[in-house]
Symmetry: D2
Amino acid sequence: MFCKETIIRVRYAETDRMGYVYYGNYATYFEVGRVETLRALGITYKSLEDEGIMLPVLELQTKYFLPAHYDDELIIKTTIPVMPSVRIKFEYETWRGDQQLNSAWTELVFVNRQTGKPVKCPDHITDSLKKYFP
Amino acid sequence: MFCKETIIRVRYAETDRMGYVYYGNYATYFEVGRVETLRALGITYKSLEDEGIMLPVLELQTKYFLPAHYDDELIIKTTIPVMPSVRIKFEYETWRGDQQLNSAWTELVFVNRQTGKPVKCPDHITDSLKKYFP
Amino acid sequence: MFCKETIIRVRYAETDRMGYVYYGNYATYFEVGRVETLRALGITYKSLEDEGIMLPVLELQTKYFLPAHYDDELIIKTTIPVMPSVRIKFEYETWRGDQQLNSAWTELVFVNRQTGKPVKCPDHITDSLKKYFP
Amino acid sequence: MFCKETIIRVRYAETDRMGYVYYGNYATYFEVGRVETLRALGITYKSLEDEGIMLPVLELQTKYFLPAHYDDELIIKTTIPVMPSVRIKFEYETWRGDQQLNSAWTELVFVNRQTGKPVKCPDHITDSLKKYFP
């Protein structure tokens, strides 16, 4: 298991007329969470794409407990719960101080950009994760 | 069961550098789907809010099968599968021609704007749905 | 001069906590306006990109008079005011009924995707515009 | 004159199928720029709204020189060039390292939320700006 906390400040553009963060915008926050989680492991998602590997999302599940508001400082707690293979799972929790606002997870698949076919998680990712999955 | 199809043309702003519709933007398409489904029943979501009732999303689940591309004409098939009570469920399928791109569902809750408390689905909604749930 | 009206319904996702359409989202509405204007001329922007021509925006100017609200049905009046050469100008007005909400213009440049260099407006576009610029 | 630099990392959601930051998303970056500029002066835009003052945008002008790409670390240089009165102007430059990507400005107006009428810039803002406009 590998965890990483990322701080996101809510932008005005991300609120809706209820005064809440629009429910669809958390998908973007979770993207930032998983990209920063990979970066903390020494992996940039951009270089992955430059190597010819894409990582499209297969599934997204979100449970909303409390709304976030404009200018809130949110903590996105992102976890890689299991060693990735062809797929990689990320779990997310959004917190504001000691209040949990939602929980979510996504499953993504490693895809060869040329062939469009699923491929195994690149070795440099599994190598950098090994010590967290003893 | 009540169903409604809504057509959405993919905007450039909604694509990402993979050339696909960004996975988080489907939440907006589903919003359009459920708003048009309610409108087909004679209910405008705006007037609901003006009556003092909000409808925040409690849960969102999406399974992605195929990506949508720029300028695609998508059909959002939205279904109200069960008679709403305090909560209302919507199911969605996104189609491009005869290809299904994803399936999803959301659960929302009727909330009194003043008190912030859950309330029963307004009578005029259940009335307009009655004939579809014999 | 060539003009085209496009109707856009305001989505919840596009509002902000003021209850207005977020000022940055009009850029997307104007994109829809110019894409539908080209389509009315028999040109799809997508096929343009498939031919290897991109059309990045060089300049955007917007004056906001009145806000748009959730669920408003807006008319985007788009005009090509002068015959395009290496650049193409679009002018926009957003109306709600007989109220003008804003006015804007963009200038875009035809660019060869391979070389990244500006190129002349493709002949099939100037041909389709000729009769409107006698 | 008061200046402030804000760093923004480009999100995947903000790119388009050209691989660039979508031209409309800079409006959001500029919002972040001006909010952080106010915060550097001890003013939170949120508290301004809580006091009953809104700050809608009257005008936006952007000139685009170079595109930003996914994962770029951008510097938004925001300037308040003149002492605000009923209106407040912000100027923006987006930089990636030593490359300027665009320049822009917005004019906003202080509005009383209740009456919808323009009002003078609150004293605590002019007070905090005084020393920068000798």
